[in-house]
Symmetry: C2
Subunit: 343 residues, 2 copies
DNA sequence: GCGCAGTTCTGCAACGTTTCAGACTGTCCG
DNA sequence: CGGACAGTCTGAAACGTTGCAGAACTGCGC
């Protein structure tokens, strides 16, 4: 407009080969003089039909996932892959009980969604899937309409529980994170176990039941403690309640390493000697190494990477049949489990 | 278009009071039938001139900041305030040595930028400031053109160093995180100290020098170890090198609690008794509480909250004079510091 | 019956880009 | 000397909204 042209300016920024270096130079110089900072990204997005951002939806509101090494590791895989393609990560605000007419998901200017470990009844699931965008679910829930990346939680839990049973423990207890979005905290009965909206926890409990049935023991006699979150602090509180209620407990299967570490802390506070008096199995394999914690390893970094891969791949446009990526897990036996004393 | 109208549909979604409930209901129903998921956010953004996202730029590439409790705490304050206003957080990809013509910052569809702890020569600084958008710098660098939220690093460091000197330590050593983006790791001389592009580290070193000068000691005799990052692991390595080089060291001022914890670990590994043989002061006050670590507390959560506040406030449009928010810090004396034995 | 107010709906314009097809210039080759 | 071709640049159209001014309709009171 100042010098000469309208859409040539666009080329000056985006296609240097489409115009003479001299003119390009002049345009950029003039632009700076006038205070024009380059093409407006919003308009560019509209024109191109792309935003260059991947929406990330977590079960918990924003900063909390960062306290969980599991989520951080997953995020690492996700971020690396996204950064490779120059994609930004957009953390969408809002929680599970979002009103259905909310704009938070519907109005998010992203090219696709990563839905991480949501509860079955999370409103945001439906909202995200309704968008004409690709989406990838990580961990839960497993839906037929969308790509899925996760593990065989039921099988993995059965392995963990089986490990304890094999050692000779007759009634291991379970330390779980939240089963539902609004549930209480404390010991949970069979109804609550089956009614869990957190598919990961539900599946793992089923796996525990499988393992118990395998050796002919009663699942409904196993104590399951629902902790407030997947954290050392919550695990400590939960384990205390558990051990208060059933002091004879010889083994605990914690659904995360953080919970396991909390359980270990509680056990020590109660004067127990580990692992002699109490065997502990964790889950995740993030915090495990230096702690000598027996745990189930799951490839969180891979989850993030594959989810990003899958989402980026889906950006092409043509819809493809949803794929379920089930990643392998394995039991890592370290020092925190042993046979019961009287076993 | 199907039933009746063009822009009435817009009202159906955004202004329910502008049309009869009956028609609205019908529009929404038809929309669902046709697979229309509501107004396209990208076009809406263009029209409104708003994206509803705040861009966050970290010094390190994406997942690493999440390993730092300091950054996570800051993020918590930021996220809470942003969520209050329904703003998303967009983590912009790219690192300090981004080419100047990169689209990563220039093309980010956001309403403003949070620039966290960048080095003086970080390309993204200029790119972000060139955008006609509000921006808030946290921690560093302190620029006159932009809002700033941070602390008096120089003064706080002088207090920490002064604390050690007051206890009688004659030549405390310093454990710092990176001074430059590409620098080496190890002991640094005076030239490197002054040439630090990480303003936070530079200021703190100046504060240390102030404290030394105050009691008439020579700053250039103080050993400064540059660690690879602000982490326990890097602190441990750095402290080992420091103590190997100068076994007589009686006190260490670490620029973060993580580094301090690493130093403590290294000291224990070398058979030192704490705090008798080695006093340690940390910085941040995040990891401090349960560890009995003497530290400088700084309000990270507040930083995030105020930065968000300031940024949201700047969205109004009319440019305002940049403000510098300097938050208070204070020394928290716990068990990790004491007078030197022969002092 | 007429103006007035209120409700409900519509059309126009504009947000700022990028893509695409072409216009124009000049060069090279037959 | 004409035509093909490469190199530069331009104009029109479209991306899908929303704000605004106003049109159409409905009552209501006088």
């Amino acid at each position: 407009m100042l010098g000469v042209s309208p859409s040539t300016v666009s080329n000056a920024y985006n296609r240097p080969d489409q115009l003479s270096p001299a003119l390009r130079e002049q345009i950029l110089k003039t632009a700076e003089a006038v205070g024009y900072a380059g093409p407006d990204p919003i308009a560019r997005n509209l024109r191109r039909g792309r935003t260059g951002a991947l929406g990330v939806v977590f079960s918990e509101p924003l900063p909390y996932p960062f306290d969980d090494p599991t989520a951080v590791t997953m995020l690492q895989g996700l971020a690396e892959r996204a950064a490779d393609e120059q994609f930004a990560l957009m953390f969408v605000p809002g929680s599970a009980d979002l009103p259905a007419h909310s704009n938070s998901i519907r109005g998010a200017a992203v090219d696709g969604f990563i839905l991480h470990s949501l509860h079955d009844d999370d409103t945001r699931l439906k909202l995200a899937i309704a968008r004409p965008l690709p989406a990838v679910v990580i961990d839960s829930p497993r839906l037929t309409e969308v790509d899925f990346v996760g593990i065989d939680d039921r099988g993995a839990a059965a392995v963990a529980m089986g490990h304890l049973l094999e050692l000779g423990h007759r009634s291991p207890a379970v330390l779980s994170f939240r089963l539902t979005g609004h549930g209480h905290v404390g010991l949970v009965d069979e109804t609550e176990r089956r009614g869990a909206t957190a598919a990961v926890a539900r599946e793992r409990l089923a796996g525990c039941a499988d393992a118990m049935a395998e050796v002919g023991l009663h699942w409904d006699e196993v104590l399951v403690e629902e902790c407030a979150s997947s954290s050392v602090a919550a695990g400590r509180v939960g384990a205390h309640e558990l051990l208060e209620r059933a002091p004879a407990t010889t083994a605990i299967f914690a659904f995360s390493d953080l919970l396991a570490l909390g359980a270990r802390q509680a056990a020590l506070e109660r004067g127990l000697e580990l692992p002699r008096d109490l065997s502990i199995v964790g889950f995740d394999g993030c915090a495990g190494e230096p702690e000598g914690l027996t745990t189930i390893y799951q490839p969180e970094h891979e989850k993030g990477r594959i989810a990003a891969e899958r989402l980026l791949d889906g950006l092409g446009g043509r819809p493809r049949r949803p794929v379920q990526h089930i990643l392998p897990t394995h039991l890592v036996v370290r020092g925190s489990t042993t046979a019961p004393e009287n076993g």
